[in-house]
């Protein structure tokens, strides 16, 4: 994809973002608006990466259909939407992270069932991995899938799962056997008995509606287990890792959008700047550009090889740090009481804090990046 093509795609997204900017504070106050109006404010079908067969009227750039099913297209479009409201981007219906697991693990019947449901109308999905006591450490996973006659029962608790209270289906990771290969991914219909998704009130990104999944003997059919036709090493954690590698550039672009929004707000609300402030703003502009280049490189890498998350971790570290720093400093630059006078800035400060822990904390990203570098996966001069 050429630079010119991506620039045109970005411009298109910037137009779409206007509608989200208008509803940003309302959605922050009342996350249920996501299901009552948000999907009518923007053409969600064109923006969430539906496959060609389910996306008969795709976005078009220079006459070419754009399905938004690649990481590169997603980070370009979603950054511009997040610049208006990152909470709204995450509150859109569609496949989100679960779609990546489907792409890697589903058989034909499961794929058809999943996409028929998701494309049927505005349908939300979720990705249930993190647990209260162990985060995303698969070694500590306590959610279980155990046999019960000719079916299976799913039991356990997941936390910080976005969109679950409004979802019709999603993917839950559960332990079927002991050991690192014993974790499987299961396609779960939220109407099954024993399944409950309870919203967790959060300080920011409220549109996402983080929640806790409480599952008690939820009946699961053999046909709901993803990856049943794949080898023992191509199961739950394999797909989860690839999903994280694909989605970290997306999280990074959302953080970048929030950082850019705070920069935009400061430059729009202030008239003259003192010289040290201009110096600060110049530095921010350079870092925004640098992070944007890094996020795009990470997206290209994820599209090329989702097994390698090295650049994705680098992008996430930089984008998250920049979003926190610019939003926090913007408060001081807009004078005493800035968070009362500029409710959108207050929202940006709160939203920016979510990216640190989404899809792995900064520490996890540092470990992945260091390991990737040491294994020669950054494509640097050593390999030339």
């Amino acid at each position: 994809m050429t630079t010119e093509f991506l620039a045109d795609l970005r411009a298109l997204a910037r137009d779409q973002a206007t509608a989200l900017r208008a509803t940003a504070l309302d959605l922050d106050r009342d996350p249920t608006l996501a299901t009552t109006g948000l999907h009518r404010a923007v053409p969600w079908r064109q923006l969430v990466g539906l496959p060609a067969a389910y996306n008969t009227d795709p976005l078009r750039v220079r006459g070419r259909p754009v399905l938004l099913d690649t990481c590169v297209e997603q980070v370009t479009v979603l950054e511009e939407l997040a610049r208006a409201d990152a909470g709204a981007v995450l509150a859109l219906p569609g496949p989100s992270m679960s779609g990546s697991v489907i792409a890697d693990l589903a058989d034909d019947e499961q794929r058809e069932r999943y996409w028929n449901t998701v494309a049927d109308g505005p349908t939300w999905t979720f990705f249930g991995m993190t647990e209260p006591a162990h985060g995303s450490d698969p070694g500590g996973m306590t959610t279980t899938l155990r046999p019960d006659g000719d079916r299976l029962l799913l039991t356990g608790t997941k936390r910080y799962v976005g969109n679950a209270p409004r979802a019709r289906l999603g993917v839950v990771f559960a332990r079927r056997h002991s050991g690192p290969l014993g974790v499987v991914a299961v396609l779960v219909d939220t109407s099954r008995p024993g399944f409950e998704a309870v919203p967790l009130p959060t300080l920011g990104l409220r549109g996402l509606q983080l929640s806790e999944l409480r599952m008690r003997d939820v009946p699961i059919e053999a046909a709901d287990v993803l990856g049943r036709h794949r080898s023992a090493t191509r199961q739950g954690m394999w797909a989860a890792t690839r999903t994280f590698h694909r989605y970290r550039p997306v999280v990074s672009c959302l953080a970048l959008g929030v950082a850019q929004a705070a920069y935009d707000l400061v430059t729009a609300e202030r008239r003259g700047f003192r010289s040290h402030e201009r110096h600060l703003l110049d530095g921010w502009a350079q870092r925004l550009a640098g992070t944007r280049a890094l996020v795009l490189a990470a997206a290209r890498s994820a599209d090329r090889d989702p097994a390698d998350g090295t650049l994705a971790s680098a992008a996430k570290i930089r984008a998250t740090g920049l979003a926190e720093e610019i939003t926090t400093t913007a408060v001081r630059m807009l004078g005493p009481g800035a968070r009362w006078e500029h409710p959108l800035l207050d929202k940006l400060v709160r939203d920016a804090r979510a990216f640190e822990f989404m899809e792995g904390t900064g520490n996890i990203q540092r470990l992945t990046l260091a390991q990737g570098y040491l294994q020669g996966r950054l494509g640097d001069a050593r390999a030339a």
């Binding site: 162990h134 985060g135 910080y160 009130p201 807009l334 005493p336 009362w340 640190e356 822990f357 900064g362």
Partner: protein, 242 residues
């Protein structure tokens, strides 16, 4: 949120009462309370109790305005005020609308905007800085307790070197803020650094809490309250006016 490690050493100067609050019968007059005691109340009881005690000591019955003309007080304290000080003298507070309510602990902080208030009382700004120091220490203690109780691959999360490094950064921030406040000679740039440093400590601790720090009823709510105090009651400056 209840800290589970020993409270910070009692500051020098007048010994605080067991609750950290001045006894009602001997309520000191404005400015006569050692501002360090507000740190201890903030550490042991949280932001609302500390603000109430500071208000008792420095600004009884009067809404204290920050340099932008805003107030942020616990709902009970806010309701007990009958006036504020405008540039041309005392004014009734009747009819001032609420800007926002910020839930923290078992109460709300209430924000208002005052028309043409007099410049803020330095004793209030200094007291707020001490409160923020106590809140940062409370947060760091709670983060350490949280991580001691979690494990990664069988080992306490608190023992991971990367986690220790973040904890050390936060501890250095607390130590710097305390050193600056201990030698406070009324220099506004020192107080500005205290607030910036404590903002950094807060963010670092939120990183230590992970997603738990993002919940509205978790430790993040006190970080938010502390940041809003810094935004509402920053020290006087010539650099911030838009």
């Amino acid at each position: 949120m209840t800290p589970t490690v020993a409270p910070p050493a009692a500051p020098s100067g007048p010994a605080p009462s067991p609750t950290g609050r001045p006894a009602p019968s001997s309520r000191p007059r404005a400015g006569s309370v050692d501002p360090r005691r507000h740190r201890l109340v903030a550490y042991t009881e949280g932001p609302a109790a500390a603000l109430a005690a500071l208000h008792d000591a420095v600004s009884p019955a009067v809404l204290p305005a920050g340099p932008g003309g805003h107030t942020l007080l616990p709902a009970e304290t806010d309701a007990a005020c009958d006036r504020y000080v405008a540039c041309d003298g005392p004014r009734s507070r009747a009819g001032l609308p609420e800007l926002a309510r910020v839930p923290v602990g078992d109460t709300d902080l209430v924000a208002r905007r005052l028309p043409r208030p007099a410049p803020p009382d330095p004793a209030w700004s200094t007291g707020v800085a001490w409160i923020r120091l106590g809140l940062a220490e409370r947060l760091l203690a709670a983060a350490a307790a949280h991580l001691r109780g979690r494990s990664v691959a069988g080992a306490p999360t608190l023992n991971l070197p990367l986690v220790r490094a973040m904890l050390a950064d936060a501890a250095a921030g607390v130590a710097e803020a305390r050193a600056l406040l201990d030698t406070d000679d009324g220099d506004p740039s020192a107080l500005r650094r205290v607030h910036e440093g404590l903002d950094e400590v807060g963010r670092r601790c939120l990183h230590l809490f992970g997603a738990a720090g993002f919940l509205a009823d978790g430790p993040g709510s006190e970080v938010r309250a502390s940041e809003l105090l810094a935004d509402t009651y920053p020290p006087p400056t010539d650099l911030e006016a838009p």
